[in-house]
Symmetry: C2
Subunit: 294 residues, 2 copies
């Protein structure tokens, strides 16, 4: 079925909203742009809550825990609960503890930041990471494939180092070590530019080992599996809302959700949405999220 732009007719908007019990929101480009909240975002979310809808904020951001991300949303003017937030640090922790069911005597070696550690700790998963700094002479002899590491987990790490890559590589030479990434986005937007994303931290490890990590971020269905690992919901009564066709909308379509809604306040354009032969097409789209208010 071709996509269509939702008109502003109250009955059409109401009929669309009525189809769903839960809305999954991408954040940057949907709720805000950079550091600026988009118009009437808070009112839109409040309206959906009034109608009894559940909200879930689903982000590939891997540096923040749910608790820290909740603070970010509230500072931007969006009231929410930590358990309404699904960031890729959290989805990784859930995946390791509840889907992989990593044995308690195995540890996770983390390339990433504090948010990942907080979420692993909350799930009771043993883990460690290296502080910033160069490789040390003793590393060459000490680094090895053992040390009880069952998983290497790569997220965005502003202190990525040769030492971390060298250590992770030794673990990954063992084919039984599971290779995970919070997400494989090559870049992410900040300060009006693109900067290296989490996928660029795992890229050298992929180049060295020939192994591709399982991604716990959109559009990977491992993230949907992680969401289902903690939340029970009817996929047919769920709608994914996002600004990127190849991550958000694809995530919703491949997850078999009841609906997908694209907004034009982020990366993907109306031309891309309407392009002939496009393979990833949202059910409906709007200029801005708040247009759903009519």
């Amino acid at each position: 079925m071709p996509t269509q732009k939702l008109t502003g007719k109250p009955e059409e908007l109401a009929a669309f909203i009525d189809k769903f019990d839960i809305f999954l929101f991408d954040c940057d480009g949907v709720l805000w742009q950079g550091k600026t909240l988009l118009p009437k975002t808070a009112e839109t979310l409040a309206h959906l809550r009034t109608l009894g809808k559940r909200l879930l904020f689903v982000t590939n951001n891997s540096t923040k825990s749910r608790a820290t991300y909740k603070t970010k949303l509230e500072e931007l003017g969006i009231p929410c609960e930590a358990d309404e937030i699904f960031c890729s640090a959290y989805s990784s922790a859930i995946y390791i503890s509840r889907v992989l069911k990593l044995p308690r005597d195995k540890r996770v070696y983390v390339i990433g930041e504090a948010g990942i550690e907080e979420e692993l700790a909350a799930e009771g998963v043993s883990h460690f990471r290296d502080e910033a700094g160069g490789i040390r002479p003793e590393d060459y002899d000490n680094f090895g494939p053992d040390e009880g590491v069952g998983v290497v987990l790569c997220g965005l790490d502003h202190e990525i180092s040769y030492r971390k890559l060298a250590r992770a590589y030794q673990y990954l030479r063992n084919p039984e070590t599971v290779f995970l990434a919070t997400n494989i986005d090559s870049t992410f937007p900040t300060h009006g530019k693109l900067f290296p994303g989490a996928g660029s931290m795992s890229a050298p490890l992929t180049y060295m080992t020939g192994r591709t990590p399982v991604s716990l971020g959109k559009p990977s269905q491992a993230m949907m599996d992680a969401i289902e690992g903690v939340l029970k919901f009817d996929r047919k009564r769920a709608c994914m809302v996002g600004d990127r066709l190849n991550t958000d909308i694809r995530f919703g379509i491949e997850g078999g959700l009841g609906g997908t809604l694209a907004v034009l306040t982020g990366v993907s354009t109306e031309e891309e949405i309407l392009e002939e032969g496009a393979t990833i097409v949202p059910d409906v789209y709007l200029d801005r999220l708040c247009d759903i208010l009519g």
Copy 2:
């Protein structure tokens, strides 16, 4: 023509040596293993010199300048001159100055170590690199595609950082910025293990930009072009000697050299050399380099 093992017959060895005026040697796995010189290496090289042969030491090592590499060879017991050494830091500098002919008002942004800077300076190429350390708040606004950078050059860097990758990425978003790598080896052997190689420094940039760097290391013919940029020699009277089929021997074959000689003291095995259907086959091979003495 199938490969063959040189017998120890003096006339056969002499006939082989007589075919060449210059021998190009890979180093690790041919002349030494780790920190240990292989048997009679110095005598073998001295013998070839006595016969009037020119010697060239060709290595993908990118962290050392020729001057520093000469010291390394001499400490291992191999007398040599700096101009007999062709390391990938040097081939990169030659390629930029003599093949690309980078305009004098353009600079090279270097991810790598001191050897690259020394060689670029010796060729009079403007360049800069960042010291170790994390990204700084002002970087997000300051980093941009301009700054007169015409080339990004990536080599092995034990202090690779997010800051360096983020800066290089901004330059490479400009399609006119040339993307070079000293070599694209994913790993290199040291301390009896494999550690991340120069190619793992450029891998995130390739992942972010979709661009593949021109490699100035074996088996890339850009390295052969760089050698020809400074040395005149008849390729048909040159022999490449190495331990790796897919780098050294391939480098010699694709470069149209008169001969290739594999030795079994490094990575490739006799089984690989004799494997049916192998596409990269040396003209001849020996157990050890010194067997050429008879």
